[in-house]
Amino acid sequence: MAMLDLLLDPSFAASIPRFVTPILLAALGGALCERAGVFNIALEGFLLMGAFAAVLGSYFSGSPYVGALAAMLAGMALGLVFAEFNLRRGGDSIVVSIAINLLAAGLTTFLLRAIFDVTGAFSDAGIVGFGPVRLPLIEDIPFVGQILSGQSALFYVALLCVPLMHVFLARHRLGLRIRAAGENAEALRAGGVEPRRVQLVALLACGALCGLGGAQLSIANVNLFVENMSAGRGWIAVVAVLLTRGRPWPLFFIALLFGAVDSLSFRVQGLGLAQQFTDMMPYLATLIVLVALSWWRARRARGETR
């Protein structure tokens, strides 16, 4: 009974997008890299950098849009660093990823002190965040209206990105080349396109998307920056990318699952479940989905040969 109340609680519905958006945006960026054949597990660092730059941009311009732009640029800058060390100098992608995560953690904290002269957190009325966008009519639909209406502009951007990326990968020249770089880079090179150049573009786009994800964290979900505020969300995005091998629609559903279960796990704490178990929920849910999916696939494959 109490569980049902929880699920039908409108504030539960409204909170899902706030959990989903940063993960989804970062995961979409990660998906581009994955499809382009760049094993980028630095999404955590990209998100963090984006979150910081968003606050920076918003604070100095007074506009969340400038904040989002700054976040994208910052993400792209990290993408460039990644490209330099991984693509050009040939460093191992995992090592480079982890170094970039360290770099982002250090740089944001350092800049926080250098620019705002605070340690740990920066919260100021001058940081203008994304307000809720009300969608007339839709907001009156029960439950779904709560999810779809009243969210930050970035949520809608993220939603839009899913079909866009799908079409982009399927039909756009660059999308085609990105897929080729990820699948058979040698063949792409033989066709006259340097795969590393395509991978660089993917990294930059990944940086921009992760930057937006960071902006959602710091100037949409809240209006402040706190050291290390990405808090593991980039890793969740990495898991989502690996799970779906970078396909946009499955990615969307996994991000939704993560966000919804995470959001739900908060609420079941109210039912007296130990925090350790509620923290475990998104991962267990994913494992269960994975096992169920592969079981279903195996069954279908058996059916096919029969």
Partner: protein, 312 residues
């Protein structure tokens, strides 16, 4: 300077107002007693040990350890360095050597006062508290608060939740969601002890228009009109005082600081500062009066509170 004081923090200072106050305290002590001071930030259990060893290795005169994470380490290291004085803040160990001194705070006393205020001000009969992580230390806040609430309104419900996640002490996003969820479930006064997450709770308070309590230092200016009061923990003054006593040759000092000793406080109790604090308590003299009354009974011992940290 011929003396060296080292402050070893249990975690990164970051957003932790309490740990930052430790740094203020050591600097004040250094100034006052003419010593060089250094701060060693630890981030993990292993680094705490390494840092304490390093402080010994660097030949510190006094090593100040903030937080209860250092018990094992002190037990091991202090006997091997009899010339070095160790000051533990927030915790004490049994059977300690002469060169180990303790200063502990009774946070739950001030938290209890927050509970009292919350119970008096709630309109829904539901209040909430968010802690960073379900660890014993934070129960000094959450449980103290809950007891305070029950003492005024036994039928009020207290929702206790934790931020959790990957970085519980620095996740304003999750902290905000917790506050929003509790508010949606009816809680109209929410106490936050979430370190970096506090800002998230304040955001939620502004957005959903509920009221909040916080910890350690005056945070009212961060969310004007939404923060009622907070537990004040005067680590810095306690540190200066304890170091002074150690320098005078005190052995095995134990200082327990609560409301009575002025180590813990609340804005409501600081009548000089209350007007300019920006806290809502300034507009609720009747609540403040009740808090002072309860504080007095705690101070004179007529109201006895258990330390929730050691409750099973």
């Amino acid at each position: 300077a011929d003396k060296l004081f080292v402050y070893v923090s249990p975690d990164a200072l970051g957003v932790n107002a309490f740990l930052k106050m430790g740094q203020t305290g050591i600097e004040a002590a250094g100034e006052k007693y003419g010593a060089d001071v250094e701060t060693y930030e630890s981030r993990t259990a292993a680094e705490r040990l390494e840092n304490v060893n390093a402080a010994v290795n660097e030949g510190a005169d006094i090593v100040v350890l903030l937080g209860f994470e250092f018990n094992d380490i002190i037990r091991e290291v202090a006997p091997t360095a009899p010339d070095i004085q160790f000051l533990m803040i927030d915790q004490c160990i049994d059977d300690r050597p002469e060169n180990v001194h303790c200063a502990v705070f009774r946070e739950y006393e001030a938290s209890y006062l927050m509970g009292v205020a919350a119970a008096m001000m709630t309109e829904t009969g539901k209040v909430g508290v968010v802690g960073a992580l379900d660890i014993p230390f934070l129960h000094r806040y959450t449980d103290g608060y809950a007891q305070g609430v029950k003492s005024v309104k036994p039928d009020a419900s207290v929702d206790i939740r934790w931020v959790g996640g990957e970085s519980p002490f620095a996740d304003p996003v999750r902290a905000k969601e917790q506050a929003v969820a509790m508010n949606a479930a009816g809680a109209d006064l929410i106490f936050t002890a979430t370190a970096g997450g506090d800002f998230g709770v304040f955001e939620a308070a502004k957005e959903k228009d509920f009221k909040a309590f916080s910890v350690d230092v005056n945070q009212c200016p961060n969310a004007p009109g939404h923060i009622v009061d907070m537990t004040l923990k005067h680590v810095d003054t306690a540190m200066v005082q304890a170091i002074g006593e150690i320098l005078e040759g005190g052995k095995q000092l134990t200082v327990s600081l609560g409301l009575k000793e002025g180590g813990m406080s609340a804005m409501a109790l600081e009548e000089d500062n209350i007007a300019g604090s920006g806290c809502l308590i300034a507009d609720h003299p009747e609540v403040a009066a009740k808090m002072r009354e309860v504080a007095a009974s705690i101070e004179d011992g007529s109201l006895k509170l258990e330390d929730p940290m050691f409750a099973k």
